[in-house]
Amino acid sequence: ADAYVLKFATLAPAGSTWMKAFDAWGKELARASQGRLVVKFYPGGIAGDEPDMLKKIRFGQLQGAALAGHGIGEIFPPARILEAPFLFRDHAEIDAVRARVLPAIEKGFRDNQYELLAWMEVGNVHFFSTRPLANLDELARRRIWQWQGDRFIAAFFDANGWAAVALPITEVYPALATGLVDTVVSTPLASIALQWSGKTPYMSTRAMATGIGAVVVSRKFFGGLPADLQALLKRTGGPLSQRLIADTRRDDSKALALLARRTQPMTAFQQVDLAAQAARARKTVEALEAARYLSAELDRQVDTALADHRRGAD
């Protein structure tokens, strides 16, 4: 029989933590299917920004992708509640809540023409800047990168009165180099993988949230596979997710330690009133619910699961 080819795109560059896991996954699929399921990788953004990847999936050039929050927001926006600022206190909370709401998220992806194979993370979100930051008000005068088309981040920036510069992620590096952008919100691991960290000698030491990610294939491709290959994809998804999350957390904290030595802290962030920030984030979440970007129902599920976990943990 002919081999099924899964053309798979990601922004992660070849040789990065993520691509290593994907490569191993591709080999495992080819081995377990005896060559009937072949993954062709298009890493490092050669298929374009995440919205471009999704367009190419809709037009049938690609069948799958590894996406960060922005791409997930183009498929099933409510899932982004998991990266709302100041929602979780640690990874254990994230793991507990995710376990509870993942079925709902999987259904959300499926209803929007995608099969969610593996959940992943891109690391803890920090501010990186070419300049120091004496107080938070200064951020209003900064050129903060905002992922073009990302309504979720845009809402939080708006709530803080920050005038962002909207760019595709592939344009961020030259923008940092030419001064079009001077501040980015990113994770230590991604900052190093994408080489942004060389341009940003200042970093906020406190994480705001943990960036989410997902490995997806289109429903059209998934539905066209024979049952055993469908089962194989779903079966390998769990271990892939575990490896991606574990490797990302390990390498992200290594990257944070490394960058902590090589950068200056953005001191303004150390004096932030956490309670006030969390309240502002909560308001933004409510606005996004009203705009039907986030789902009030899923958000309540998250709140309940988090409260249950905290009761059990305390």
Partner: protein, 161 residues
């Protein structure tokens, strides 16, 4: 017949006037948005909402009407290694096939652009109204088709190359 040719010539003139108007407006808007952004960011610490994204799309609003204008004026980049254009007889003979080939290709490109735009419309990235900005793609390729068809008919009696 002469009356039909006259009408077609008028149509071509009306189209080029429209396209030039769009391109000039887009140029003016690019300048205005750039200026607003420079002043806004550096002095007022405020920006035009979505101004940067619109500015980048205006590149298409200058370029694509410009491409239609270039088609009407026969100014598109082309090779002519044998210097055939110096030979009036060749210019007359080739006008119909060359412009028809161009019109057919542009028809397919316009169809592709329309399919692309429908997808943009159904799956907007970010604010939904931004999808209107990419409407210039199918519109311009349709205009290019029309211009090449008009050229196929009208290019025969053009005096200046």
């Amino acid at each position: 017949m002469p009356r039909l040719l006259g009408a077609l010539r008028q149509l071509e003139r009306a189209l080029t006037r429209l396209e030039l108007g769009v391109a000039l407006l887009a140029f003016a808007a690019m300048l205005a948005l750039s200026l607003a952004d420079i002043v806004g960011r550096n002095l007022l610490h405020a920006t035009v909402p979505a101004g940067d994204v619109v500015l980048r799309h205006l590149v298409l609003w200058v370029a694509l009407p410009g491409a239609a204008l270039a088609a009407a004026a026969g100014r598109h980049l082309h090779l002519d290694p044998a210097n055939l254009a110096a030979w009036p007889r060749w210019r007359r003979l080739s006008a119909i096939p060359v412009n028809l080939v161009a019109a057919v290709v542009c028809t397919f490109l316009a169809r592709a652009a329309w399919a692309f735009w429908l997808d943009e419309w159904r799956h907007p990235s970010g604010q939904a109204w931004l999808a209107w900005l990419s409407l210039i793609l199918p519109a311009a390729f349709a205009l290019l088709t029309l211009h090449f068809l008009l050229r196929a008919v009208l290019a025969r009696d053009v005096k200046t190359p």
